[in-house]
Amino acid sequence: MAKPVHADQRYLIALINNDAGLINEIYQKCAGKVKSFVVFNNGTTNDAEDIFQEALVDIYNQAKFKDLQLTCPFEPFLLLVCKRKWLNALKKKSVLQVTNSEDDLLLIGEDTFEQAEQLEEQAAQADLFLRAFEKLGGRCKEIIKWSMQGDAQEKVAEALGVTYGYLRKKKSECMASLVKLIHLKDRNND
């Protein structure tokens, strides 16, 4: 089960640590390719820029909060994530004509596909959870949002003008409501 982590995990760590040197290397290697792909497929340079940034932020999120371990090389992974993102964007715009790029996709390992797919699923799931979160009451939203800023929870309590004990109690209640909301949705979808 446990596949060895690829050496390119360092790029994920660079994103987490905001290591501009290594992030620059990512741009050097991949930005041009993503630009060509998007521009070649009915997009603009600005579209490419947005897609590229979104992909990097998604990867950063997964690495930071979900402990994403890269088992494939970084470059094809990022390129695939960007391609999928752009194809999805085109689908939404219902522009059907997309230059088929299966030739170069054949060169990509199974791991890369799997990881790109997981990333996409996780990102979509996070969107879904966010929508459920938006349905919570104002105070709950405030408490959850503040407690997730990464600061010490004692400080968060102080900023919200409540005791630390109250914050923990309220947060567990709010989070429980959120989990229930999400479960309810799942059941309705089935």
């Binding site: 992030i23 600005n46 490419a48 990097l56 932020v57 567990s172």
Partner: protein, 239 residues
């Protein structure tokens, strides 16, 4: 029961339990598959939401900077009208900036800049290799790389006027003017063949900083009959 478990898990994860409750929870967790599932769901939802809610300003700042660099060629087309009212202000800033920046002085610097190559004569010591490499980098105008190598050589032999002189020049050419003065001044104070070359380089440093008075003062230190004399006089004339 399921709903109670959800709240129970939340209280456990968020630390809203006393020690007895934690112990109770953990003993139940060991063999309650549903509870285990609830716990892992909870963590999943918590972390997913954190992706959306926590701020990643620092990373986005880095990405925006790089975006400009790598996706910037195609300038974003904005409508012209809102731009035009700024044009006057931009023009004014440019004009003022131009006076402060004074590129004509810079071009004076470029005209009188020292383009000569660093010549290294054969030396037996092992250090010769580094010196030859440094000279090659210097002559290829890769002053940043040459500087790094010369810095090491200079640290080992501070009295070697040639190494000092070219180290000083590399500093000057990579805009570390003050440091270049620190290296070049002792060479001028010494009695090597680089004495007046050092004076000329220091003058160029002041020119780079647009400090004409000190530039002139250093140029006048170069006496007639030395190799730099004519260049120094020409530059004095221009100033």
């Amino acid at each position: 029961m399921t709903e109670d478990k959800i709240l129970w898990v939340a209280r456990y994860v968020e630390g809203d339990m006393d020690d007895a409750e934690v112990a109770d929870f953990e003993s139940r967790l060991a063999d309650d598959a549903e509870l285990q599932q609830n716990l892992s769901n909870y963590k999943d939802i918590h972390q997913s939401l954190k992706m959306k809610l926590s701020d990643n300003e620092e990373l986005e700042h880095t990405l925006k900077g790089l975006n400009k660099q790598y996706f910037g060629e195609e300038t974003k087309v904005v409508s012209f009208k809102p731009t035009i009212k700024w044009l006057g202000a931009v023009a004014a800033v440019l004009v003022i900036g131009l006076f402060i920046w004074a590129p004509w002085n810079n071009s004076l610097y470029n005209t009188y800049n020292d383009h000569s190559d660093m010549l290294v004569t054969e030396r037996g010591a092992t250090e010769a290799g580094d010196l030859v490499n440094a000279a090659a980098l210097y002559n290829a105008k890769n002053y940043a790389a040459a500087k790094a190598m010369l810095q090491k050589l200079y640290a080992k032999q501070k009295t070697n006027a040639m190494i000092g002189y070219y180290y000083g020049l590399s500093l000057l050419k990579t805009n570390e003017v003050e440091q270049s003065r620190e290296v070049l001044t002792p060479i001028y104070d010494g009695e090597s063949v680089f004495k007046y070359d050092a004076a000329y380089a220091i003058a160029l440093g002041y020119l780079k900083e647009n400090n004409k008075a000190d530039c002139k003062a250093w140029l006048t230190k170069i006496p007639e009959g030395t190799t730099r004399y004519q260049q120094a006089q020409d530059l004095l004339g221009e100033l």
